[in-house]
Structure formats: structure tokens, C-alpha cells
Assembly symmetry: C2
Homo-oligomer: 364 residues x 2
């Protein structure tokens, strides 16, 4: 099969949104989900990109996600809210929770919003970027289904519960940190497995508790936390905030998106939004951020290091590059999307990038 | 010299408080500082314990800490406050900021308190424990003077900026996480250097950027972040919250407590207090925490692992053990404290533990 593997980001986003719409999802929901997937691909986080279209669709079809649910604020105080996602798409629930957090933070200086009844919400950076547009600092965490053992354990108990932060700067690019609490993101092991590649020793143990370089065996076993007991503690704290405190699942009660077809995931999230200007004037803050970033980047470099990067900087460059040159997808993913498209009379090849730079620029 | 090396925690705390009082510090300030040091020793974090008495005293004497300063709320909104420590002792500033955070969180559900103009504030666990007494979740971070390179750098730029969390449970011990963002706490390397011990490879690089097992060389060089770029990103975020956002020092503008005798440290902290019952009923939360903790502890264990621990559990056991059997101090530390005591007519040997178990219990 000679399918193209490089796609125009905007057309690919339309293709995904059209797929979800054709599957019966309301336009505003389909748009958010497609936006969230494409933003991940643009940032080079392909594990959270359009590769997830198939599993998301399957979960709607099996009634494991409810794309018609109305996300609700279940209770609130001046600076807090508890949002019930009612099993809507995670990115839609997360977007709503973020709106609540930002609104309350603008009114009161800061807001903490817990979320239960959600699903996988995509990348944390997606929300961080939206908060930065509002000149807010955002800290967002989510729990996830079991993939890492506690320190001293041998099988998955906690998720690779991710932690993301967005901080605006002035002339410099914003600070955007988005990480799993495992040594490496489980998504990277999924990608390795899909590509048939092996993984470095130390990333994971197999289901018998033995170190492994086999990506498939690692997916059946446990991913290891970053920094050993430190990563275990941080991941557990995220589970407490996102799960124990909100009423969502925690530990084994967060269901696996790929394996559990009996019950919704019941993922929990937790958003902390901070209105910078309640502390110091926003212009002063931006100036201090720029100074901080410039001073770090000017540090002496280790041999063979060309540049010192700020968290989020590499991803920002990838966005620019992919908006210009297109998003490159593995053939396996393209084939899957093409098959999905065929069910709804949609053709992914229509989204292939046009090599005329001018037109790419118009689309970008 | 045949000085005793095991001390009754309460008498040792009195000795320290009396030393600070004799040095001219107000009783309420001396009490907080001594309490903070002893709590660290009790939890086995000896690097943050009474070993710091000498440096704290020296900084008062050299006008590098102002023990008479009145800590101020410089500005506030409904859910935030900015506290100016006015160069008071870090533990006194931190205690005041925590009070503000808890009061506001009780009123509004959550509060974020930034702090500037502070000094080294001891262990984060000290504040976490106080928040737990109030049935609050606390997340507290502090920046620190330069000890770690950015990823790709070769010399210290950011501090080992610590991160601490306290979460109450029901029948189980609370969750208390307190970590440096370095692979290991710099305090551990200080202790190794004091004991003349070497350190494992991977903890640090020397001032030339080379890996080292020499604790002294490591102290002159850089400690490495946990999880490589992940620890670098987390530490940088802490510096942003505690330093850039508050108006405190950040990066190279946080002065070294041991080396800089020209200017105050200008350390920054950031406290996030969360009123649990604004999310779910406190009894339900405690029940969920107990369930979570019990389920983790019941996990199958790796070979040679006797027990799976919850963050803070080992430290809690140390507190019980040390309250019974006394705090064991290195002879070098005892000699230093004895010398300090002599200047003020105080005798540390009076604080040695009595071997009569009954009396120890009465004191504990």
C-alpha cells in the first residue's frame, strides 16, 4: 500500500474531527478531541496524538465513553470546585475543568479544581498552553491506570500519573513541563512496541519483576518510577489529589482504557490555576522569567552539548517545524486511520501535505 | 574527650532554644527554630537538625539573619498572599506563612502563599505535619542556593529546591513526602563529608564537571537532579513559584548560607493549603486514604524486601524510636554544640539521655 505518511496538521485535524462527528459525536466535542490529539502530534508527543483515534472510537462504540454527557460542577467553594466529568471524553472534561479553574482564579487569585468521572485527558501541555494564553500559571495532574510498582513491589499498582506545568514568559517562549512520573512515559514503550523496537534496560520490568528490553514484555509488566522512591512518592501524591480527594478511582480502581470493557475508566484530574498579578505585576513577572531563562541558556555547556533547553522549548520548535513540513505518521497508524475513514466515507489521503510551501503557510 | 553522643530530644531542644535565647533571640523565635531543628533530627534528617545550630548562630552574629524582624503580609487576595520574611529565620517565616495559608484555606477552600525575603526554612515535613494537624493537605516548596546544573550544563545554577507534601489519613499514618529535587539531598553529601565518607557515583559531579565519589569534591561541584531532565524541570518550576513569582531570589540570586556573608539569602517559599472537606467529607477522605495505604502495603514484595513503605512511614518510626532511645549525634557535632554552650554558660551534657526507660517515657 502506498499511503502518504506526511500530513497537513490542519487537514489532519479536520479529518479526525469529521471521523468523530460521523461516529455521532457532537461537533463541539469532536472539535476539542481532535484539537487535543493534533496538538500532541505537533509537539512530537506522538503517543498521545491521532494514534489514539481508534481506541477513542472503540470506547464510544462500546459505551465506555459517553460523548453526550454534560460535565457538571458537583460542588464548589470560593477557591475550589469538584467537577464530575460524567464519563465524557477526558479532553472535553479537562477543558471544562480548566475553564472553571481560570474563572475562579481570576476572581480570587487562585483556584483548585478536582475532577472525577473522567477519561484519559490527552497531554497536560494542552491545558498548560491554554492557561498561558490567559496569563495564568497552571499546574495540572492526572491519575492513570496501573503501570508502576510501589518501591519494593513487583507489579503495577500506581499509574505513570503525569504532571504538567505552564508558565508564561515575556519575549522568551513559555515554560512548559509535561512529564509522566515514570522514568519514561509508557506511551514511548507503546510506540516502541508498535514499531517493533526494543527499549533500554531500566525503563521497565516484565510481569515476573525482571528487568527487560522487550517493549511488549514491558507493557505486560511494570514501568519504573523516575528517581526510584521519589517518583513513587510523587506519583502516589498525584493519585491522592486526582483520585482519593475527588472521588475518582485511585490505584486499581482507575480502569485500563485498552483492557477494561466492562466499566468506564473513572480517571481523576486536579488543576491548580494561579493568577500571577495577585503576587507581582505581570510585566515584572515576565521580565523576571525572561531574565531567568536567558541566564540558564547562557550557562557553560557540557562537551557535545550544543544548547541548554528550557522545558517546552524543544516541543515549541517541533510545532513550528511540523506546521511547516507536516506531521509524519508511522505507516501502521496511517493504515488504521484510512480504514476508520472508509467506514464513514472519509479519505485520509486528502489530508496529505501539499509540497508547495506557500499553501502550507496559508494553512498554518 | 568523652562527651555523650545520645541525647534526650526534649532536653536537647531546650538546650538549643536556650542557646538562641542566650544569643539574644526572642523566646518565641528561639522556640520555633529549636523545634524545627529537633523535629528534623527525630525524623532522621540529621542534615537539617541541630547540626545547623552553629551556622544559624553565625548568621545572626554577622547580621545575615534578623531575629527581630516582623514578618509581613505584603499583599493578598481572597485565595493568595505574598509574605515578606524581612530576613527573619526561615522556620519562623515559614511558620507564619503556613498560618496565613491555613487560615485562608479554611475560609475559602484553598490558599496559595508565596514568600520572599526568607532564609533556609528547615525541612518541608515540619510544615506538612502542622497542616495535617489541621486536617489540611499541604504542598510546600522552597528554592535554595545553586547546587545543580541544568541538563546540558556543568556548573550549579539551580538549587536542590525541595518539595514536601502532607496528607492526613485515618487510622494509618499520614502521607508525608519530603524530598530534594536532586537524586539525593545535598545534606546527605554534607553529612558524608563531615564523616569523611565517600559517596556513590552518580550523585554529583566535581567542579570540572566530572563524576566523583569524593564528598568534598562534590560539595565544590554540582549535585545532579533526580531523573535527569525531569528533576531539572521540577526544580526550575519550584524556583519559578518560590522565587520568580514572589520577588525572592532565583537562580544565582539565592545566596549561599555558608559562603555569602555580604547579603541575606533572600530565599523564597511557596505554600499551597487545601481544605479537604471542600471536596469530599473528611471522614470519607480518611477512609479512602486508609484503604489506599493498606492496599499498597499489601502488594506482593520483591525478593529481600520485608515491607512496602508509604512516604513518611519510616520517618514516623524513627521519631518513635528516637523519642524512646534518644537522638544519636556525631561526636563532631556534639563537640561543636558543647563549645557553643560554653560561650553562654550552657552544658550540653545535661541533655544526655537517662537510661532509665521510665524517665524517658515521662519526657517523651
Amino acid at each position: 500500500m502506498s499511503l502518504p505518511t506526511r500530513y497537513d496538521w490542519k487537514k489532519l485535524q479536520d479529518f479526525c474531527a469529521n471521523v468523530f462527528s460521523a461516529a455521532g459525536v457532537k461537533k463541539e466535542v469532536a472539535d476539542v478531541v481532535a484539537d487535543s490529539l493534533i496538538q500532541a502530534d505537533l509537539r512530537g508527543v506522538e503517543s498521545h496524538g491521532v494514534v489514539r483515534t481508534a481506541i477513542y472510537l472503540k470506547r464510544i462504540e462500546q459505551d465506555m465513553i459517553d460523548p453526550f454527557a454534560e460535565v457538571e460542577i458537583e460542588n464548589e467553594s470560593v477557591a475550589t470546585a469538584l467537577v464530575n466529568g460524567k464519563n465524557q471524553f477526558g479532553s472535553v472534561v479537562g477543558t471544562k475543568a480548566l475553564e472553571v479553574a481560570i474563572k475562579k482564579a481570576k476572581e480570587n487569585g487562585a483556584a483548585l479544581v478536582g475532577v472525577k468521572g473522567s477519561n484519559h485527558f490527552g497531554t497536560g501541555a494542552y491545558y498548560a498552553l491554554k492557561a498561558i494564553e490567559q496569563e495564568m500559571i497552571l499546574l495540572v495532574v492526572s491519575n492513570a491506570s496501573q503501570t508502576m510498582p510501589p518501591t519494593g513491589g513487583i507489579r503495577p499498582f500506581i499509574g505513570t500519573n503525569p504532571l504538567a506545568v505552564g508558565v508564561p514568559a515575556g519575549k522568551e517562549e513559555p515554560f512548559i513541563m509535561d512529564m509522566a512520573t515514570s522514568l519514561v512515559a509508557r506511551g514511548k514503550i507503546i510506540v516502541a512496541a508498535q514499531k517493533g523496537e526494543s527499549i533500554p534496560l531500566g525503563w521497565a520490568i516484565d510481569k515476573g519483576g525482571n528487568p527487560t528490553t522487550d517493549a511488549e514484555a514491558a507493557l505486560e509488566g511494570s514501568v519504573l518510577p523516575m528517581g526510584g522512591p521519589k517518583g513513587y512518592a510523587i506519583s502516589m501524591f498525584i493519585d491522592i489529589l486526582a483520585g482519593v480527594l475527588t472521588g475518582a478511582g485511585f490505584g486499581k480502581y482507575v480502569n485500563n482504557m485498552y483492557e477494561n470493557w466492562e466499566e468506564p475508566q473513572n480517571v481523576g484530574h486536579f488543576f491548580i490555576a494561579i493568577d500571577i498579578k495577585k503576587f507581582i505585576p505581570i510585566e515584572l513577572f515576565k521580565q523576571r522569567m525572561d531574565q531567568y531563562i536567558c541566564e540558564i541558556k547562557a550557562e557553560p555547556k557540557a562537551p557535545n552539548v550544543e544548547e541548554i533547553f528550557i522545558p517546552g522549548e524543544l516541543e515549541h520548535r517541533k510545532v513550528i517545524e511540523k506546521k511547516t513540513n507536516g506531521i509524519e505518521l508511522p505507516l501502521k497508524v496511517v493504515q488504521e486511520l484510512q480504514k476508520i475513514g472508509e467506514r464513514y466515507g472519509l479519505d485520509i489521503t486528502q489530508a496529505q501535505i501539499t509540497l508547495n510551501t506557500e499553501e502550507v503557510t496559508n494553512n498554518g
